[in-house]
Point group: C2
Chain length 343, copies 2
Amino acid sequence: MENARTEISSLGEFGLINHLTKNNETRQASTILGVGDDAAVIDSFGKQTVVTTDLLIEGVHFDLMYTPLKHLGYKSVVVNLSDVYAMNAVPTQITMSIAFSNRFSVEALDEFYEGVYLACEKYGVDLIGGDTSSSQKGFIISVTALGEVAADKWVRRSTARKGDLLCVSGYLGGAFLGLTLLEREKKIWIENPQIQPDLEGEKYIVGCILRPEARKDIVEFFETSSLLPTAMMDVSDGLSSEILHICKQSNLGCMLYEDKIPVHEESRQAAFKFGLDPTACALSGGEDYELLFTIKQEDHDKLVLNEEISVIGYMTEPEKGAHIITKGGNKHAITAQGWNAFT
Amino acid sequence: MENARTEISSLGEFGLINHLTKNNETRQASTILGVGDDAAVIDSFGKQTVVTTDLLIEGVHFDLMYTPLKHLGYKSVVVNLSDVYAMNAVPTQITMSIAFSNRFSVEALDEFYEGVYLACEKYGVDLIGGDTSSSQKGFIISVTALGEVAADKWVRRSTARKGDLLCVSGYLGGAFLGLTLLEREKKIWIENPQIQPDLEGEKYIVGCILRPEARKDIVEFFETSSLLPTAMMDVSDGLSSEILHICKQSNLGCMLYEDKIPVHEESRQAAFKFGLDPTACALSGGEDYELLFTIKQEDHDKLVLNEEISVIGYMTEPEKGAHIITKGGNKHAITAQGWNAFT
């Protein structure tokens, strides 16, 4: 069965949609009508709805040479849920649209959707609609995620205040290092297909890039500990780029401490192996999908209960600019070195 | 200025987003937060939210050789709003994601967004988010539309009842004929670029394909005349394909009358000129974005007030199948000849 290949044309457009959604489950009480009509219907029960969308293009955002389709499906959902959590909201529904060339089989799409449904299950969201289409070249994925939040609880990027503590969840830089490893192994493999990729001992960083998670737990922690961040966003383009967004949109400066930036021990070792600076990977890498947020100083004690959160600096008046104090005690201006799709 | 070309790389990703959204206006009271954060925030005021999404790919769904970018922007929005109206809902917000190769200039994107904003203005919807990205090849557009509707007013495809009248708004087949004309002129132009396209006298059908409208007026008419369709969908893949959807999903058959199918006089003339059967264009063409719906027989009198609606047949028990009575009095089974992206 492993090599079975069902041509998509054998199902037709509607047959394919039925095939891909036949095991789709509804988990959210707010989902009144899901896949199968002109549109889905959602009841909001007085809460506010959060909407975010992402377009992922083969060759730009992912490389199918080293990205298993199941992981890609999972990650496509997760990166959108991460944006919903970054609003301090709870994701409830997604739509998933895909376009693909005729080199894709039904089995390939099944693998992709296996990952999509796995993410839906893990995060308790409903897949409520989408669109399938052919493409002239490559695989194209468009996801829209909806979430809900009480009217007084959603958090934007522009509302940090001077003196607020700058915090981040989890570890940074791992996804960039995982990508670096996969790109290196790809190059070796292209030059000599006999040599099998050596990913042993690097499961942590490979997991960071191929199977990231959205920080559901952090938003739940905010709720249970009655902690409301003053500003928040997710780290998709690298820490320095995101910090500058919060500074610019909140009209503030900041002071960041290099020794406070959380880098996993396995990332640190991988960085040394590749001759890279671990801090640079955290600042300029991307795709970590951690939450970057600011809190009032008086809320600091509430963080003690959560080892997944690091205080990495504080917000200052805008005139002071955005700076980092290195481990050696030097002060440098923070520049946006985040990933930019257009350069 | 006409030949000004600003490279997108000169703006950067965030500069580009600012540029494209700087004149964006908010029209809906429910739009609490729009473009510029991780996600948009919407208040639903107790109504139910409708969500629909479409992915449009250059070379599959549109041809930039004869599609002005402004029309493409307008149409990309309209086809999604059409799905919202097809639920008997009122569209309120959209997200717009695009990906494009480096052959596109900022001026080209401006033209596209001019059409997007024009549609937003005409239909009173807010653009609240999106994503911009590079593509390896071609222009890719993903739109998600949200709408609202009272809990007891939304209409699906599967709820038609035996004996209901089958109705359609406006005229059918025009978009297919417009496409046929444009494809013909493209072929002539490729063979001999000296010959300028001859679209004079065919403004109606060219307008049908390049600048369709969503039937806002029909949904408003339902509201003001207290008419609730029993089932509804929009005609995007051709009348026969859509009728079969309603039959299948409602578990019914139907009887359709050829002489009742509304074909515009200019479409009829164009069809004869191209040697095509006008009825076949209406049945098997696509992209008309009219509303196909069923109503109870006792509601028939309410239609008299609206010349934009034609009664084209009625629903029967499923055993009778789906048939059309031709002008000559013959009876044929209806087959799905609608546009299929996979064949």
